[in-house]
């Protein structure tokens, strides 16, 4: 229960921050953030992973809405990635702690060190992506082609992951 409350509190703070930073679509982003946080809370309370997933994706979407109209790059995105990872990990961990997911009910809960390592890794990756976005690159068409290939490869990996019997 502590994990669930902590995760939801962090997510609530994030939603509030997203709602407060909007420019043109500020009110819309705030509304989306509030609704998706409510979905996340409902999913956590009633142990429905699908609702939790919807709420988590919605929070990311709300952040995207809040960034529309801004010209500069938000360095806080790396922090947001870390915060969201911790929040989502905690709410999912609360399901395991409450033995609400068959098969995963007895998984040994990660300690704070492991969670911190994961958060640090997430922050590093997010920062690297943001840094890459700031670097001016020549041969734009090739970079775009490489990006498209990477995205397609990623999707292929996810599909393979989904369909693989082992």
């Amino acid at each position: 229960l502590i994990e669930a409350v902590a995760g939801l509190l962090i997510a609530a703070g994030t939603a509030a921050w997203i709602g407060g930073t909007g420019a043109d679509l500020g009110p819309v982003a705030a509304a989306v953030a509030a609704v998706t946080w409510a979905l996340l809370a409902l999913g956590t309370g009633f142990a429905v992973p699908a609702l939790m997933t919807l709420g988590a994706a919605g929070l990311v979407g709300a952040y995207g809405l809040s960034r529309i109209g801004h010209s500069g790059l938000d360095a806080g995105a790396a922090v947001l990635a870390v915060v969201l990872l911790v929040a989502f990990d905690l709410v999912i961990g609360s399901l395991e702690a409450r033995r609400r997911v068959p098969g995963w009910s007895r998984r040994r809960r990660d300690d704070w060190t492991r969670l911190s390592l994961r958060a640090a890794a997430a922050g590093t990756v997010a920062a690297a992506v943001l840094f890459t976005a700031t670097v001016p690159l020549q041969h734009g068409i090739f970079v775009q082609a490489a990006g498209a290939a990477a995205a397609a490869g990623l999707l292929a990996f996810l599909v393979a992951l989904r369909r693989s019997p082992d």
Partner: protein
Amino acid sequence: MTRVPGPRAGLFAVVGITGLVGGLAVGRPELVAIGAPFLLLLGLAHVLAGDHGLAAVPESGVLRIIEGQSAQITVTLTTAAPAGRLEIRAAPPSGLVFVTATAAGGIDPAHNGAATIGLPAAGSHRVQLDFYGSHWGTYPIHEIEVFRAGPLGVFGHRLVVPCDTSVTVYPRPATVRRLLRPVETHLGFGDLVSRHTGTGLEYADLREMQPGDDPRLINWKAAARGRGYWVNVRHPERNSDIVLFVDTLAEARRGVEALLDFAVRAAAGLARSHLGRHDRIGLVTFGEPVRWLLPGMGDVQRYRVLDTLMQSRTRRQMYWRGIDAIPRRALPPQALVVGLSPLLDDRSVHAFADLRGRGFDVAVVELAPEHFVAPAVDAVEASARRIWMLQRDAIRRTFRRHGVAVVPWNPDEPFETALAEVEVFRRNAQRARA
């Protein structure tokens, strides 16, 4: 082994794709930066989640226990590398409960049919699964599932092993110390003192010695009085035929408790005790279908009785063949028929009357359904209940008038109490007839 995604996998994938697609759609790299760590963790978890070459071989066979006892099934787990914590899941049908799993690392109580064990080293490990038999019946265990969660909690591996083990839980026999005495005995050797005279231990009478009598039977005290030689006459020790007549036509329930369960346990207790007295035991489960077991002796017969009893089910069916469906050999002449019935169905009431009319020695232990009925909440219900009780009392009186002992048994009390009452009634009835 089959890789299975955990709840994190779906969430991480959806958040990662949302960030990636959203970033491309609105042209914001911040969204990609948010989604990328989730996708990276997903990929990393996929690489790290190995199955460790886990294999499991459960022992097969048929295990037999009595209600309230535990059965152990051993599973041999083999790993190519230290597998850490594993979850073992076994989901037998209700009536058999998976209680604990014991491995070298210790004992873990099962929760919702799953227990966790530790395999800290590679190699072969024996894991003992304990199952508690809470209700009589035959319970096949078709498969045992072994689950290992991946290190990042995103992917796991599931191994489903087919299992060819069946656990037979026999009913817990009711305690029966004093048994019913049948009116007639048979020629077989047993523990019952026959009414007739012959060769035996129990003294019966004296008679004048006849030519051909064994001199060892001479009663020397009587002979010393000088009136000739007298010999002891004795009662022989014989056995009898007992037919247990279990009514499965109707039953009453109180939560998980059913009258049929008590009838089966009482029948199991009677069978065990009568077989211990060298009686021949037969069985008729009177329902649809009507099942019977020809009278027999010994431990084999005991298990035959238990197996037949465990097939007893109460089933509402209008098709009815009646008592004529039972072959004559299943109801041998002069057998004592012990009925275990709630007397809720007219067909069973008529069957007992029919048996009595055919000259069988019948005694009925009535499993009183009154204790399974909710108390009346208003005057109408109270009146209806009173009328119902009067009707039941009338049935009992009719039976008793015809010499059939009908004694209500409250299943909350010992079965022996009801049996003692039956014996008292029968003794008094015999005296009255004499």
